[in-house]
């Protein structure tokens, strides 16, 4: 079947991209064996200690061999041990990845219906005051950097109103409502930063298909307004909307770095910054690979979703 073949090709491409990305990550984060050893052992070391460390870790092997070994370990799920913290990198990163994924999933789950609803509303009122007001608000929100949005939310809901925690560290040791409360402000700021863009793209795509001849055909077949909007305006506009959502998700994974730091949210974004400041190479590598794999997976899923809603892409 053609569709299956298209998917297989896309998956093969994704795997290739991932491989290339791992090479770049490895090359960018590997420093000379001596630097690695010095970084791990501190300044006061003898040459013998350095050499033993290098030999023990296999750092004197050729770079290709080291890369292959590193990749092999990674594929088997062994992210190695941090030379800085001495802890297992996988045990360190995975719970934080879980937190970040919950954050992204909550944002997406709220953003999708809200953006789509607003976009349909705006497209049906194009040029009227409701549309113009919402449109200018989305422009302002898109222009604001995420740390400004985050700070503003902290000032209003945390400092002035005392409604919500401004620091999400509580996630580490609390459960129940107070844990969920830690999600509210980060999710809200991610929404305010990412949804306006989706809304604008969806609005113009839906607006275009609302004025397309096939929509007039449906209207002049006497179909109900709800049906016309859902099947003749939104459905044909789904491809650009899905692509925008995917881009947005990719943003959510990377924009999360800033937002997590604003709210001290215990996710991989915050961990990444910590690892960089402490030169924790193993952790940086692991997070870079995990984030890259997520980018690629999201793009792949979006491509497949676009193919499912657009039969034209499927048959190509």
């Amino acid at each position: 079947m053609v569709f299956a073949r298209v998917i297989a090709i896309k998956i093969a491409w994704a795997a290739m991209t991932l491989l290339v990305m791992s090479i770049i990550t490895f090359a960018a984060t590997s420093s000379s064996p001596v630097d690695v050893a010095r970084n791990a052992l501190g300044r006061e070391v003898t040459n013998e200690q350095l050499e033993r460390f290098i030999a023990d870790r296999g750092l004197n092997r050729p770079v290709v061999v080291r890369y292959a070994a590193w990749l092999g370990d990674f594929v088997r799920g062994d992210f190695g041990t941090s030379t800085v913290t001495g802890r297992n990198v996988r045990d360190d990163v995975m719970p934080r990845l879980g937190n970040t994924l919950v954050l992204a999933a909550l944002t997406l789950a709220i953003s999708l219906p809200v953006s789509l609803g607003l976009a349909v509303y705006m497209a049906l009122h194009v040029g009227r005051w409701q549309d113009l007001m919402l449109l200018s608000s989305t422009t302002v929100l898109t222009a604001l950097p995420e740390f400004v949005t985050g700070m503003a939310l902290i000032l209003v809901f945390g400092v002035a109103l005392h409604w919500l925690p401004i620091d999400s560290t509580a996630l580490n040791f609390q459960s129940g409502w107070s844990a969920w409360a830690s999600y509210v402000l980060p999710v809200l700021s991610m929404l305010l930063v990412s949804a306006p863009y989706t809304i604008r793209i969806a609005r113009s795509a839906i607006r275009e298909s609302l004025s397309a001849p096939h929509t007039r055909t449906a209207v002049l077949a006497g179909l109900s307004r709800r049906r016309v909007v859902a099947l003749y305006a939104v459905l044909p506009a789904a491809v650009p909307i899905i692509n925008t959502l995917a881009l947005n998700l990719v943003y959510l994974i990377s924009g999360v770095v800033v937002i997590e730091n604003v709210f001290s949210f215990p996710g991989i974004g915050r961990r990444l910054v910590e690892a960089i400041t402490t030169s924790d190479i193993e952790t940086v590598q692991a997070i870079a690979i995990v984030m890259g794999a997520m980018f690629i997976a999201i793009t792949l899923i979006a491509d497949m979703a676009a193919a499912i809603v657009n039969p034209r892409l499927r048959s190509k």
């Binding site: 397309a212 001849p213 096939h214 007039r216 055909t217 449906a218 209207v219 002049l220 077949a221 006497g222 179909l223 109900s224 307004r225 049906r227 099947l231 003749y232 459905l235 044909p236 789904a238 809603v309 657009n310 039969p311 034209r312 048959s315």
Partner: protein
């Protein structure tokens, strides 16, 4: 009163005899427009009248043609006959009566019980009028569920019956397919099945066959005649093609600037039409049957041909069959070669290969006796200027962000070393004069020009390079008939004055007949017939050429005007 469930309660009048050209007075009127006036509301709230006091009666089982050029208000009138107005259209007065109800006073929820149920609509370009994301089955099911409350097997049977009615092959499979998996003609059949799904009394069709091949057009017309005969549906058929309406419609209304200037039985309007505009429309329409062939090009035979193609084969990447299958042709200085064929015949691909936009897979193309590089990027600048291409649609071939001046300056700078920098304006004025456009357009943008003016600019751009070979790809098919005639005359004059060799590709036989000295008929990438234009048209040897000629609705010559 409207009863969606029993649509024909108003049809209580006796039906006396068949619909048609005989005794129309005894056949009940199903829809009646009275003094209908409509305006467009501009952004500043200003009203622009588009339809003035139009009155028309539509009788059961008749085809009423509305003919006019773009901007005449014919489509706006047709849509208003369903009670539909675009958001920026305002009703200035009058009424549209469907069985005693004025559709213009109904709100949209009430109109939805009429649209698709009592009045069906078929739009131009079915490829755009069908939903690309829904299967044909789902699109056909929607109105049947809504208006007829059909479900399950009854629904399925009705869907199959509808597709069978429009002669679509394998209806069962078609229901599961998407619109883009069908040809243009099949898509229009599906659109007609959709409009006819709930057995409406009235069908409103807006240029339903424009853009389709002549033979496809003829088959759709046959289908429509059968539907009218069997189902007694009344049809409003909007078209710019007077020849087509003469062959198809019972009555014709001629629209000009929002007014009906003439209405009557099709033959009366076409043959004895009294209004000057009708006569102008008829005079402008190129005909196949009449004489005035282009005069033979001087010295065409002895000199070296400007263009000589030998055994050219073109295969699109990924396609198995070549779209051009070994074509030979020659064009001499001052000569015009017409290439006729339907979409998919390979005629445009051949033209693209000559232009160097696509490399032929085999064969050779010589220009002025020298072998041409297959791709335009490998050809010397001089040759690029000497071979010019004019495209079908000036809307897409002219840069909307450039003024006429900058559009024309570019080829002058590129290809005309004889024009010094700073002297371009004089040359542009000369070019504008040559394409019969006023100087005042020089700083306008394409969006400020009419369709005909835009195509003249595209022609001026081609001539700016002083070409030896002009390649024209369907350059009149996006234009109104009266504009078409003027563009053809212009091209004829320019080609003669400048001694340009022209290859003119078109699916419009009459246009080729008016312009070309010799003609090639292409089908499936091969030449099925070639010869002098007169011979090809009067004495076609190939059955395909004959079928093409028969599919065209030629207008009869107009009688002398009544005083």
């Amino acid at each position: 009163m409207i009863h969606p469930a029993s649509p024909r309660t108003d049809m209580s009048m006796p039906i006396a005899g068949p619909a048609g050209r005989n005794g129309p007075d005894t056949i009940p009127v199903v829809l009646s427009m009275r003094d209908l006036s409509l305006s467009y509301e501009g952004a500043d709230g200003e009203l622009n009248p588009v339809v003035h006091e139009v009155s028309l009666d539509l009788r059961r089982g008749e085809i009423l043609g509305i003919v006019g050029e773009s901007g005449s208000g014919k489509s706006t009138t047709a849509l208003a006959s369903m009670g539909y107005r675009s958001p920026n259209v305002r009703v200035g007065g009058g009424e549209v009566l469907l069985g005693g109800t004025n559709l213009l006073t109904l709100d949209v929820p009430r109109l939805r019980t009429i649209w698709g149920r009592r009045i069906g609509f078929v739009a131009q370009q079915a490829s755009l009028a069908l939903n690309p994301s829904l299967r044909i089955g789902a699109q056909l099911a929607a109105p049947l569920k809504k208006h007829m409350a059909l479900a399950g097997k009854a629904l399925h049977d009705r869907q199959v019956e509808l597709l069978r009615m429009v002669d679509l092959p394998d209806p069962e499979a078609a229901l599961r397919r998407y619109s883009f998996q069908f040809s243009g003609g099949q898509q229009q059949r599906i659109a007609i099945a959709l409009a006819m799904s709930c057995d409406p009394e009235i069908l409103v069709m807006d240029e339903p066959t424009t853009g389709l091949d002549a033979t496809t057009q003829a088959r759709i017309s046959d289908l429509l005649r059968a539907l009218v005969r069997e189902r007694k549906v009344a049809v409003i058929y909007v078209s710019h093609d007077l020849g087509l309406l003469h062959a198809l419609a019972d009555r014709i209304a001629v629209m000009l600037d929002g007014r009906i200037v003439e209405t009557g039985a099709a033959d009366d309007v076409v043959v004895r039409g009294g209004h000057p505009y009708t006569r102008a429309l008829m005079a402008a329409a190129p005909r196949i049957g009449t004489a005035n062939l282009p005069t033979p090009a001087a010295g065409a035979s002895d000199a070296l041909p400007v263009l000589r193609a030998r055994a050219v084969v073109c295969t699109h990447p990924g396609a198995g069959e070549p779209s051009v299958h070994g074509i030979d042709l020659e064009v001499a200085r001052g000569e015009t070669l017409g290439i006729i064929g339907e979409s998919g015949s390979g005629k445009s691909t051949l033209l693209r290969a000559i232009a160097g936009l696509m490399a032929p897979t085999a064969g050779s193309i010589d220009f002025q006796g020298d072998k041409l590089a297959p791709l335009v990027s490998k050809r010397p600048v001089r040759t690029r200027g000497e071979i010019q291409l004019i495209f079908q649609n000036p809307d897409s071939s002219l840069n909307p962000r450039q003024t006429v001046r900058s559009i024309l300056t570019r080829p002058i700078r590129l290809f005309r070393p004889d024009v010094r920098r700073g002297d371009e304006t004089a040359e542009i004025r000369r070019l504008l004069a040559a394409v019969r456009l006023p100087d005042s357009l020089i700083d306008r943008f394409p969006s400020e020009l009419s369709g005909g003016q835009k195509q003249r600019i595209a022609i001026a751009r081609a001539f700016a390079a002083r070409p030896l070979l002009l390649l024209c790809d369907e350059i009149t098919s996006a234009l109104d008939v009266s504009v078409q005639a003027a563009i053809l005359d212009l091209l004829k004059d320019l080609a003669r004055e400048n001694g340009v060799a022209t290859v003119f590709v078109s699916h419009d036989l009459a246009v080729v007949r008016a312009l070309a000295h010799s003609t090639i008929v292409m089908r499936h990438g091969r030449v099925v017939e070639r010869g002098e234009t007169g011979a090809v048209f009067t004495d076609p040897r190939d059955p395909y050429t004959r079928a093409l000629l028969e599919a065209v609705h030629d207008l009869p010559p107009a009688e002398a005007p009544h005083v």
